[in-house]
């Protein structure tokens, strides 16, 4: 499966360049957002790459290739899910370079510095967005799922940008909470429950995608 993810990266070699571009653009676009800026940027760019990954497959009619090779469908579908954290990691890395770079150059734009909360929330947001998008993508193919993609995209953007209004003052417990996340997952009920919900969401999405993809004909 790793090779399938490698293929996605090879195809999107220009991704690194694009990542810099998008991050830059979105930083300008969302500079007024304040706290939510980081999460929104990571979500938007990360999810865009998830979508682009699908575009490449369609362009090359590669479904015919992978389904003619001895590759089980769960690997084809699984690789796309595996690619999510890879994409987001790249975006976070790029942001980590761009944001201090911009302040170094004294670019007149507010760019929130990279922090753990933002990064984790961003990763979660992309996972959620992709989990909602993928079943439709696997069921209908890239071209027919475009509308759905945009609905999800804007949904993500709007919710991410609404975060500051929902949490007008960043509660003091947020930062230490995220720092203690790993040990909390074992102990506290609420974050553990949320974690479980998250895993269930992605799991359900994966099995739905697999089922729907299995029904397709090429």
């Amino acid at each position: 499966m790793g090779y399938l993810v490698l293929k996605d990266l090879l195809l999107q070699k220009k991704m690194l360049l694009l990542a810099f571009l998008y991050v830059f653009m979105f930083t300008f676009a969302f500079q007024g957002m304040g706290e939510a800026q980081l999460v929104t940027i990571i979500s938007a760019v990360g999810y865009t790459f998830v979508m682009l990954g699908g575009a490449w497959e369609e362009k090359n009619t590669s479904d015919v290739l992978w389904n003619s090779l001895a590759v089980p469908k769960w690997k084809i579908v699984g690789a796309k899910y595996l690619a999510i954290p890879v994409y987001v990691a790249i975006v976070i890395l790029v942001y980590g370079i761009v944001s201090p770079f911009m302040s170094l150059l004294r670019v007149p734009v507010r760019a929130m510095p990279l922090d753990l909360v933002g990064a984790v929330l961003g990763m979660v947001a992309v996972f959620i967005a992709a989990s909602v998008y993928y079943p439709v993508y696997f069921a209908l193919g890239y071209a027919k799922s475009r509308y759905w993609h945009f609905i999800v995209f804007f949904g993500v953007m709007i919710s991410a940008s609404m975060l500051p209004t929902l949490f007008p003052n960043k509660p003091e417990w947020i930062d230490p909470l995220f720092e203690r996340l790993p040990e909390l997952a074992r102990g506290e009920a609420v974050p553990a429950a949320l974690g479980v919900v998250f895993v269930i969401l992605v799991g359900v999405s994966f099995f739905a995608s697999l089922r729907l993809y299995g029904r397709r004909e090429f």
Partner: protein, 288 residues
């Protein structure tokens, strides 16, 4: 492995406007089967059903004695495929593309692959989108022949290629078949290619198999007969499979050529038909 390497039994597939009507045929190991028919007759559909890219509505397909659906992965490990269109990633080079797909084949043979790449003079560092049609086909062939495949499935591999490349492909197939464990299913509407190398021929027309037999049998069974139009009489009718008349005479495909010749009083001329003749006349008759 005893028994046919490929066996289709009463395979049915429904589309709006087209239907595969319960087709059956089989291929014994060690031979090349030419799968001929006009465009739209069902060749690609049949191949996609074998590869499980389309779902069977009814019937059974067995490859290497295994069910093509239940043992899909095992079957695909041992099949090499070359399709009409390119499905490899055009943005990648063949080095990258092969690096990504080779790990999925248990029996991948790098030395065999490298030999073919060299033999075909395929550029390592250029994107696949810069390749000519012939080069793309050769790449697909190099991949198909480099994992010890026992069945080669080719869907119109020569369409759009010049005669030189076509001839090269046929030479390679002849080489490949020297190993009796390998078999080839080769679909094409260019019958002249198959005239040369095919051992068996299966003709499909409008979703039906008109015949599936050895080329030897076919040429034993059918002959072309040509002569003056006056020679066409009703006694000849039962032996005729399709007739073509023009101002100057007639040409027809006949069964039992000796008898047919006698019926014309020896005045007509017998000639060996090409696969194309056989295909044209057999399908013409169907249309009537």
């Amino acid at each position: 492995m005893m028994g046919p390497i490929l066996k289709l039994e009463n395979v049915v597939k429904n589309f709006t406007g087209f239907k595969l009507n319960g087709i059956s045929f089989s291929l014994e190991p060690g031979y090349i089967m030419g799968f001929i028919g006009a465009n739209g007759s069902g060749k690609t559909t049949t191949i996609k059903l074998i590869m499980n890219l389309l779902r069977l509505d009814a019937g059974e397909i067995k490859v290497f004695g295994l069910d093509s659906r239940k043992n899909e992965q095992e079957v695909k490990q041992r099949i090499g495929f070359v399709y009409d269109d390119n499905h490899f990633y055009e943005e990648l080079t063949i080095v990258q593309m092969t690096k990504v797909l080779a790990p999925f084949y248990r029996n991948w043979d790098w030395s065999s692959y490298n030999q073919y790449v060299q033999r075909f003079s395929l550029p390592a560092a250029k994107k696949i989108k810069t390749f000519s049609r012939g080069m793309k086909m050769k790449y697909a062939l190099a991949v198909a022949l480099s994992h010890k495949a026992e069945l080669l499935i080719m869907d119109e591999p020569t369409s759009g290629l010049d005669p030189i490349v076509r001839s090269e492909l046929l030479d390679i197939l002849s080489e490949v078949i020297q190993d009796e464990r390998c078999s080839v299913l080769f679909s094409s509407h260019i019958t002249s290619d198959l005239d040369r190398v095919a051992d068996y021929v299966t003709l499909i027309h409008n979703g039906n198999i008109l015949f599936s037999t050895s080329k030897e049998d076919l040429f034993e069974r059918y002959s072309l007969i040509k002569g003056e139009r006056s020679l066409l009489n009703s006694n000849l009718q039962p032996y005729l499979v399709g007739v073509r008349e023009n101002q100057f005479g007639f040409e027809a495909l006949v069964t039992d050529k000796e008898h047919a010749l006698r019926l014309t009083g020896g005045k007509a001329v017998l000639e060996r038909p090409t696969l194309e003749d056989i295909m044209l006349y057999c399908t013409k008759e169907q249309a009537v």
